[in-house]
C-alpha cells in the first residue's frame, strides 16, 4: 500500500461523508483563515506605520535639541551657548559617522499671506539645502534653493502642496493643478519668491483612495462647505506635516527674520526681538542604523567639547517609535495567534473525534483489510493520511476563506490600513493545520492499527 493509495482512500472517505467532513474541517478553516487574516491586518498596520516612520526620515535620524542646563551645572548657565552653527561645523569635521548634518532655525508662529489669503504652516524653517535629503523631500516642481541662495540670503522659499492648496487653491477645488512658481508670498512681513514645490506626500492608502475618487464621481457632500478634519488614518499626520511646511534658506531666516532660537526658555511662539544665533534643531543622519549608538557617542563627544562640557543639549531618535511599532506588531500577532491557535486546536480535536468515531464505525472494514493482508503500518498510514487529508483540505479552504475575509474586511473599513496577506503567514497557518491533522490522526491511527484481525472481523 503506497501513500498515493492512502491519499485516494482518504479523499474517497471525505467524499463519502461530505457534510460530516465539512463540519469537521470547519474548525481548521476558521483557524487558518483567522490566523492569516489577523496577520494580514497586523501587516497592513505595520506597513502603514513604517511608511510614516520613513516619511519623517527613518531610524537613522538623530535630532539634537537644546535643553536646560542640568541642575548640577546650573551655575554655568550663562556660559551655555546652545546649539549653534559651530556645532554643525565641528560635527562635519570630527564626526564621520554623522553622514548628514542639517541645521534648522524655525520661525515660530509664521503666517503666510498672499493671494488675499492667510495660512499658518505647520513649520516654517530656515535650513541648508541638505535638508532635502534629511527629510526625504522630493521637489517635483522648480528647484530646491542651493548653497548660493543660502549664502546670499536670497528671499526664496520652497513650499509643500498644502501651502499651495490653502493660498492658491487645491487641484480638487480648482480642477487643475496650480504650480505657483515665481509667485511671491509674504511671511511675517517679508516677501519671498516660491522657487520650488514638493510633491504631494501621502501614504499608499490615501494615494489609492485619491486615485479611486478620481475615477468615481465625487459623492455629494451635503451641508455647508467645511473642513472634514484630518482624515482617519492614524499615520497620515507624518505626511500632512511634510505637506504643510515652508523651507527657507538658513541665512535668509537669520538675516531677514532674525529668527531661530529654541522653544526652550522663550517658549513656543515667543516673538524674538533680538537676533539669536542659536539653532532650533540640529538634525543628523547616520549612514547605517547599526552604527546609531556609536554615532550618538561620537556626536556627544564632539558636542561636549564645543559646549565646554555643559550638557545643554539632548538627543532624540525614532528608536522608541520603531520599537513601539515592533512591540505593537508583536503583541497584536501574539494575541491573534493565540486565538487562532486555539481555534486550530479545537479544529484538531474535532478531527480526532471524528476519526475516532469513524474507525469505530469501520472496525469490520479494518478487519477485512487485515485479513487480506493489510499490515499494521498500512492501516496506521491509511487512518493518519485520512486525518491529514481532512486537515489539508480544511487548511486550503481556510486560505481561500482568509482571502475572502481580508477582502471583506478592507471593504468594511476602506480608510484603515489595507491588510496585506503574506506568504509566510499562509505557509505557517497551512503548516500548522497539517501538523494538527497529523497529531489528531495519531491516536485513532494507532488504535486502528492495533486492532486484532479476528476481533475486528467478528465485530458487529
Amino acid at each position: 500500500m503506497n501513500l498515493w493509495n492512502a491519499i485516494v482512500i482518504g479523499f474517497k472517505e471525505i467524499w463519502a461523508h461530505k457534510f460530516r467532513s465539512v463540519l469537521t474541517m470547519l474548525g481548521i478553516i476558521l483557524g487558518v483563515s483567522s490566523l492569516v487574516a489577523m496577520s494580514a491586518m497586523v501587516k497592513g498596520i505595520e506597513i502603514g506605520a513604517k511608511e510614516a516612520l520613513v516619511a519623517i526620515g527613518g531610524l537613522q535620524k538623530i535630532r539634537i535639541e537644546a535643553q536646560k542646563v542640568p541642575i548640577y551645572q546650573r551655575y554655568l548657565t550663562d556660559q551655555a551657548v546652545g546649539v549653534t552653527l559651530n556645532d554643525v561645523y565641528a560635527l562635519q569635521s570630527s564626526a564621520p559617522l554623522a553622514a548628514l548634518v542639517s541645521p534648522e532655525m524655525r520661525l515660530y508662529g509664521a503666517t503666510v499671506s498672499a493671494n488675499g489669503k492667510t495660512y499658518r504652516p505647520w513649520v516654517c524653517t530656515g535650513v541648508w539645502p541638505v535638508a532635502i535629503e534629511m527629510y526625504e523631500h522630493v521637489v517635483e516642481h522648480g528647484r530646491m534653493f542651493n548653497e548660493i541662495d543660502d549664502e546670499m540670503a536670497r528671499s526664496v522659499c520652497v513650499i509643500g502642496t498644502e501651502v499651495r492648496d490653502e493660498i492658491f487653491g487645491s487641484p480638487q477645488q480648482v480642477g487643475h493643478e496650480i504650480i505657483p512658481l515665481g509667485e511671491t508670498i509674504n511671511i511675517n512681513g517679508q516677501s519671498l519668491t516660491i522657487i520650488g514645490m514638493f510633491q504631494h506626500y501621502e501614504n499608499e492608502q490615501d494615494r489609492k483612495q485619491r486615485e479611486l475618487a478620481l475615477q468615481q464621481a465625487e459623492p455629494n457632500k451635503t451641508g455647508p462647505a467645511r473642513s472634514r478634519g484630518w482624515g482617519t488614518t492614524s499615520q497620515n499626520w507624518a505626511f500632512k506635516l511634510k505637506n504643510a511646511s515652508v523651507l527657507i534658506p538658513l541665512n535668509t531666516i537669520w538675516i531677514k527674520f532674525r529668527a531661530g532660537g529654541t522653544a526652550g526658555p522663550g517658549g513656543w511662539g515667543a516673538t524674538v526681538a533680538a537676533a539669536d544665533p542659536r539653532l532650533s534643531v540640529l538634525e543628523v543622519k547616520v549612514a547605517e542604523v547599526e552604527h546609531l549608538n556609536a554615532a550618538l557617542q561620537q556626536i556627544r563627544n564632539v558636542l561636549m567639547s564645543t559646549h565646554k562640557g555643559i550638557e545643554d543639549f539632548y538627543f532624540r531618535t525614532q528608536e522608541e517609535w520603531a520599537e513601539n511599532i515592533d512591540t505593537f506588531v508583536r503583541n497584536a500577532r501574539m494575541s491573534g495567534s493565540i486565538i487562532a491557535g486555539i481555534s486550530l486546536l479545537v479544529g484538531g480535536i474535532g478531527i480526532m473525534n471524528i476519526m475516532l468515531a469513524s474507525i469505530s464505525g469501520r472496525i469490520r472494514e479494518i478487519g477485512i483489510r487485515k485479513a487480506v493482508g493489510a499490515g499494521t503500518g498500512a492501516v496506521f498510514i491509511q487512518i493518519l493520511v485520512e486525518s491529514v487529508v481532512i486537515a489539508v483540505v480544511g487548511g486550503l479552504a481556510g486560505l481561500a476563506g482568509s482571502y475572502a475575509l481580508v477582502r471583506s474586511m478592507s471593504s468594511f473599513s476602506p480608510t484603515g490600513n489595507d491588510p496585506v496577506i503574506t506568504v509566510t503567514a499562509m505557509a505557517i497557518a497551512f503548516g500548522f493545520s497539517v501538523c494538527i491533522g497529523i497529531l489528531a490522526g495519531l491516536i485513532p491511527a494507532f488504535k486502528a492499527a492495533r486492532l486484532d484481525p479476528i476481533v475486528a472481523l467478528r465485530y458487529e
Binding site: 487480506v372 493482508g373 484481525p453
Partner: protein, 238 residues
C-alpha cells in the same frame, strides 16, 4: 515436506474463571494440492482452527509451519505478509467492503502487496472472469445476490495466487442451489491445483471433498487417510 504442519496446537480462552479449550492439542498435516473439509458441530473449534491455520490468530501453545516457515512468534507484520501472499480467505458473510465496487474489492489484496495499478486491474479482471462476474465489475456488493457476492469473495481470495485457500462456511448463507454452485467452484479450483480447506458443519458438503477432518470439542475426532484421499481425488477427476 507438507504445506502445513500443525503440532500440538492448543487455543485456550479464559472467560471469567472458566477455561475454554477451543483447540486441544491438535496435530495436522496438509499437503499441497489437497481438498479438505473440516467438519464438526457448532462450537467445536472449526473456525478457530481455520483462523490459526490462516495466520489470522495465534495459538496458545504448539507450533505451525506454513510453506516451510514457522508461524508462531512471527510479528503481526510478517503474519499480514503471509496472509497477503500465501493465503486466501472466503468467509460465511462474504466480508466485502461495501464502499468499493466489485473490481476494487478484488484488487484489495494486491493493493497491499504493492502491485502496480495496471497489473492489479488485469489480474482482478482475470479473477472475476474465473468466477463469471467480469460483467459486474463496476457494481457495488450490495447490488449483487448472495451467491454473486460469494463469488466476488472467491475471486478476491484467488487473485494473489495463494498457496492455500480457506473457506469458512462459504455456503452457510446461501440457498441450496447457489451453495451447490459455489461448491462446484471450489471443486473446480481444486482440480486446477489449488489447495482448498472448506470449513462446514454440513456432512453433505464435506462428502464432496476427498479428505475430511472431523473436530469435536477442539480435538480431531477422525480423519480419512491422506493417501486414500489422494486416490479418491484421482478417482473423482476421471
Amino acid at each position: 515436506m507438507s504445506l502445513v504442519e500443525l503440532r500440538n496446537v492448543s487455543k485456550i480462552y479464559h472467560l471469567g474463571g472458566e477455561e475454554i479449550r477451543a483447540l486441544d492439542n491438535v496435530s495436522l498435516d496438509i499437503e499441497s494440492g489437497e481438498f479438505i473439509s473440516i467438519i464438526g458441530p457448532s462450537g467445536s473449534g472449526k473456525s478457530t482452527l481455520m483462523h490459526i491455520l490462516g495466520c489470522l490468530d495465534s495459538p496458545t501453545s504448539g507450533t505451525i509451519k506454513l510453506d516451510g516457515t514457522m508461524i508462531q512468534g512471527a510479528s503481526p507484520r510478517e503474519l499480514a505478509r503471509i496472509r497477503n501472499r500465501k493465503i486466501g480467505f472466503v468467509f460465511q458473510f462474504f466480508n466485502l467492503l461495501p464502499k468499493l465496487n466489485v473490481l476494487q474489492n478484488v484488487e484489495l489484496p494486491m493493493v497491499y502487496s504493492g502491485v502496480s495499478a495496471r497489473e492489479r486491474h488485469e489480474r482482478a479482471v482475470a479473477a472475476l472472469k474465473m468466477v463469471d462476474l467480469e460483467n459486474r465489475s463496476k457494481h457495488r456488493p450490495s447490488q449483487l445476490s448472495g451467491g454473486q457476492q460469494q463469488r466476488v469473495a472467491i475471486a478476491r481470495a484467488l487473485v494473489n495466487s495463494p498457496k492455500i485457500i480457506f473457506a469458512d462456511e462459504p455456503t452457510g448463507n446461501l440457498d441450496t442451489n447457489t451453495g451447490e454452485a459455489i461448491l462446484q467452484l471450489f471443486c473446480k479450483l481444486s482440480r486446477e491445483g489449488s489447495t482448498v480447506i472448506l470449513v462446514t458443519h454440513d456432512p453433505e458438503i464435506a462428502a464432496v471433498t476427498p479428505r475430511r477432518i472431523e473436530i469435536r470439542d477442539g480435538k480431531i475426532a477422525e480423519k480419512v487417510d491422506a493417501r486414500l484421499a489422494g486416490l479418491d481425488r484421482v478417482a473423482r477427476t476421471f
